[in-house]
């Protein structure tokens, strides 16, 4: 059985969690005592605009998050001074302001922000020395402040009026506490994400509060509980291949529920409850210890997207074991790497990536795994490139959806063949044979789609879809892209009323007969617009990802053929369809 704590990336995550347990446990007790749970949650969520700015202008994400957290704390303090009263509704209003700015920046100014979602959810497995240094700074600051201000914070917590009379109500004390919470929350963001920060900062302290009432023992037991729950959650997450943040959150919530239930019980019942809990945990752990399978003797290769996984399986055949990171129907724009991905990369000799910022996380996955694997950027090898649409320093130069032109797929397959032969020359003959057969099918696909499209008059080939993923397909087959429902290359943007209204007018003016929702994005807006304009929205396209095994888009060839069929049916009002021979 593999011990998770022997893996370097897990060790680093564990170190980060253990350091964070000091500020989380210490500040957690003040958060519970002073009723700051909402503030501690809001200060993390309010980092959103800072993260979008950092992403758009190209500076360090923690800096952006901390800047936004400071601005949020200052904003709350200013409004609270001008309008003393219900602290929570003030916090909520300042938070709404921050979020509105964040969404507008992401949708209308930078039109990118593809890294924002990962930062909102955090990733314990992708931390670097900078994160650990930040956590250590937060730990040192909290320890120092707890020694210096602890007594006065305690006094202000129990009786604010009396505290004022003994000089413990000074504004700098409150500011120091809020500032520390902002700093520590920022340090925890990259690890556990804004939505789950409370799993470290509130839940363990609240659990410890159920069993102790003296301040010192409460603080010590909070720190210990954060460390224990963090360690156990991390271990479980590697064992079950689940995201660490969600595992820790669920675990700490369960511990709280058990502690509260045990406390509510009469004394004799407590022992039964405790033994039941221990038995349940043991059962869970036993059930989770799965055996990792290992295709020994084969060339280990990692592919990031579903399309690339399909290409590599076709070329590699039986000689290659492909570890494909994205599963069918996953949106690559919002993927969070999991423990198995890093383990997979650790054993791989080659990593095939899409490039053009679609799977930017792969560099970190590979470096985190300590692997020597070569990363092959297929996007850099394809002949047909369209410019990327987004602005901002982090935006990609080229549209990342290059696989929708089969000629690009051919070039990618040739590049894969070259890399595989270089990595394992003894199987060169098999790789060449597989690649030649597959290249023939790709050419048949290209010819077939072109023939199908020719059956529809060029003036009827007008495409309206969920997001601009089909630029390459449209260019190759003479299709006019009239508009997109989400007019940006990332699926996280929100449209404006003007965009939607303009699109409706455009569809009516151009006589577009069909709007095509994409299979991995919410079809609601596309359906509403289709309904409004009398166009049909019955034909779904495969954009960013292949479909699941039993769908019509399970492989690259099937996906592109299905897209061609859907478009021909949509363009012709259902009168024609498209079936392609020579690709089966």
């Amino acid at each position: 059985m593999l011990d998770p704590f022997q893996l370097p990336f897990v060790q680093r995550g564990l170190l980060e969690l253990l350091i964070l347990s000091i500020p989380a446990g210490l500040l957690g007790t003040w958060i519970v005592l002073r009723g700051l749970a909402f503030f501690s949650h809001a200060v993390g969520t309010a980092a959103f605009p800072g993260l979008v700015l950092a992403d758009g202008l190209g500076f360090a994400a923690p800096l952006g998050a901390f800047g936004a957290a400071v601005a949020f704390s200052a904003g709350t303090a200013v409004v609270a001074r001008r309008r003393p009263g219900d602290q929570d509704s003030l916090t909520a209003m300042v938070l709404v302001g921050c979020l509105a700015i964040g969404v507008i920046l992401a949708s209308d100014v930078f039109r990118s922000g593809s890294n924002v979602e990962t930062l909102l959810f955090g990733s314990l497995l992708l931390i670097d020395g900078r994160d650990i240094a930040l956590a250590a700074a937060a730990a040192a600051a909290s320890l120092g402040a707890a020694v210096l201000f602890g007594r006065r914070w305690l006094a202000a917590g129990f009786d604010p009026t009396a505290a004022k009379s003994v000089g413990a109500g000074a504004p700098y004390l409150q500011i120091a506490l809020l500032g520390l919470i902002a700093l520590a929350t920022t340090a925890a963001l990259s690890v556990i994400g804004a939505l789950l920060v409370a799993a470290l900062f509130v839940v363990p302290s609240a659990t410890a509060r159920l069993w102790t009432s003296r301040m010192l023992s409460w603080q010590i037991s909070s720190v210990v509980l954060v460390a224990v729950e963090g360690t156990a959650g991390l271990w479980l997450s590697v064992k079950t291949n689940a995201p660490p943040g969600a595992t820790i959150a669920t675990l700490s919530g369960a511990v709280f529920a058990l502690a509260a239930a045990a406390r509510a019980m009469p004394r004799p019942g407590r022992r039964t409850c405790l033994s039941a809990a221990v038995a349940a945990v043991a059962f869970l752990v036993a059930g989770c210890s799965s055996v990792a399978s290992n295709d020994s003797g084969k060339l280990q290769v990692v592919a990031t997207t579903t399309q690339i996984g399909d290409f590599v399986r076709e070329v590699g055949g039986n000689a290659v074991a492909v570890d494909q990171i994205l599963q069918p129907n996953t949106d690559p724009h919002e993927y969070e790497p999991r423990p198995s991905d890093i383990e997979g990369a650790a054993g791989a000799k080659l990593v095939f990536a899409n490039g053009d910022d679609l799977d930017a996380w792969i560099d970190q996955v590979v470096s985190e795994s300590g692997s020597e694997a070569r990363i092959v950027d297929l996007g850099a090898a394809v002949p047909v490139k369209l410019p990327g649409e987004s602005s901002g320093a982090e935006a990609s130069r080229y549209d990342a959806h290059w696989w929708h032109d089969p000629r690009n797929a051919e070039a990618a397959v040739e590049e894969i063949r070259r890399a595989l032969i270089e990595a394992e020359p003894s199987n060169a003959a098999e790789f060449r044979r597989n690649a030649d057969a597959y290249l023939g099918k790709l050419r048949a696909l290209d010819r077939g789609i072109a023939k199908c499209m020719d059956s529809v008059p060029a003036t009827q080939r007008k495409l309206v879809t969920d997001h601009d993923a089909f630029g390459y397909f449209a260019k190759r087959y003479g299709i006019t892209v009239v508009g997109a429902v989400i007019p940006s290359q990332t699926t996280q943007a929100q449209p404006s009323a003007k965009d939607v209204s303009d699109l409706v007018n455009l569809i009516e003016r151009e006589g577009v007969t069909a709007v095509f929702p994409e299979s991995s994005v919410s079809p609601k807006l596309a359906e509403t617009i289709a309904h409004e304009t009398g166009a049909s929205s019955d034909h779904t396209l495969y954009g960013d990802t292949l479909g699941s095994k039993d769908s019509s888009g399970a492989t690259y060839l099937q996906m592109e053929a299905a897209n061609a069929d859907a478009m021909v049916q949509g363009f012709s009002g259902g009168k024609r369809s498209c079936s392609i021979h020579g690709i089966g």
Binding site: S89, V96, V103, V203, P243, K498, E527
Partner: protein
């Protein structure tokens, strides 16, 4: 002339924004009075396990979300009765655990992709079914607030005194939280999950600066919500900004104008006790 509300998508968005505003505006006053601002911001994340469970069982997503929200709301009501745990801590514990559980459940291969996006809507994407659901829930919430008005006031002012009148504080808490679950269900479909707090707190916090009595405050709050909804959609139409965020920005502007335009905040006063 082609105004912003000449085409049906915008007309429907306006109706949806107004219905969301009626729910959020009326209930928001009670949310602030009962100290539930944090719950109104975070309960939207607590519906996640219900949503995923519904998807896995093949039930309608809205049903799963509704059940998940009510369960989360009641769990908050129960957890906040644990001694030593305040209501805000209860919200943090319940929402964090439920959200984590939802993320774990969603790892199941059978759960549909982008499941959050399937529920969390956009005010511009509202269809007839959304409008019908919003209308029904708005009616239900306003009706329930009408019926419970006296009892909620009594508990809000003095829990012990309310008990002597035969009004249970626990029942009142549970009622407000359940209504909040309904309002959030409407809100997430109109505003998305991040910005639902805007319509629940914004109008009521604005109205509170202008009125001290509960009933006029609620009317003002609904009016502010409806106006901000229309203003936000106009802003989104003319300036080309994201629709939900524009409505939130209009609400923040209204709040700032009310908060900094007046000298002092008025306390909530009793107009009637049954």
């Amino acid at each position: 002339m082609i105004g912003p509300f000449s085409d049906p998508v915008m007309q429907r968005a306006l109706v949806e924004a107004t219905l969301v505003g009626v729910c959020g505006g009326a209930l928001g006053c009670w949310v602030i009075f009962y100290g539930l601002s944090y719950a109104s911001e975070s309960l939207a994340h607590g519906l996640f396990p219900g949503l995923v469970a519904a998807a896995l069982l093949g039930l309608p997503l809205v049903l799963g979300a509704g059940v998940g929200l009510v369960a989360a709301a009641l769990a908050v009501a129960v957890a906040s009765r644990v001694p030593g745990v305040g209501r805000n801590v209860a919200v943090a514990v319940v929402v964090t655990s439920l959200f984590g559980l939802g993320v774990l459940l969603a790892l199941s291969p059978a759960s549909p992709p982008g499941i959050q996006a399937l529920l969390f809507g956009d005010v511009l994407g509202a269809n007839d079914a959304d409008l019908a659901l919003s209308g029904a829930l708005a009616l239900g919430i306003v009706g329930a607030l009408w019926l419970l008005h006296g009892r909620l006031l009594a508990v809000g002012f003095d829990r012990d005194f309310a008990r002597s009148l035969g009004v249970s504080a626990a029942a009142a808490d549970a009622a407000v939280l359940t209504l909040l679950a309904g309002a959030i269900l409407v809100g997430v479909q109109g505003m998305g999950n991040l910005l639902v707090v805007a319509v629940l707190i914004g109008p009521a916090a604005t109205a509170r600066q202008l009125s001290s009595r509960m009933a006029p405050m609620m009317l003002l709050s609904v009016a502010v919500a409806a106006l901000a909804g229309a203003a936000g959609l106009c802003l989104s139409y003319y300036a080309g900004t994201a629709a939900g965020a524009s409505i939130a920005a209009a609400l923040v502007a209204a709040y700032l104008a009310a908060a900094f335009g007046r000298r002092s905040r008025l306390p909530i006063t009793v107009e009637e006790v049954p």
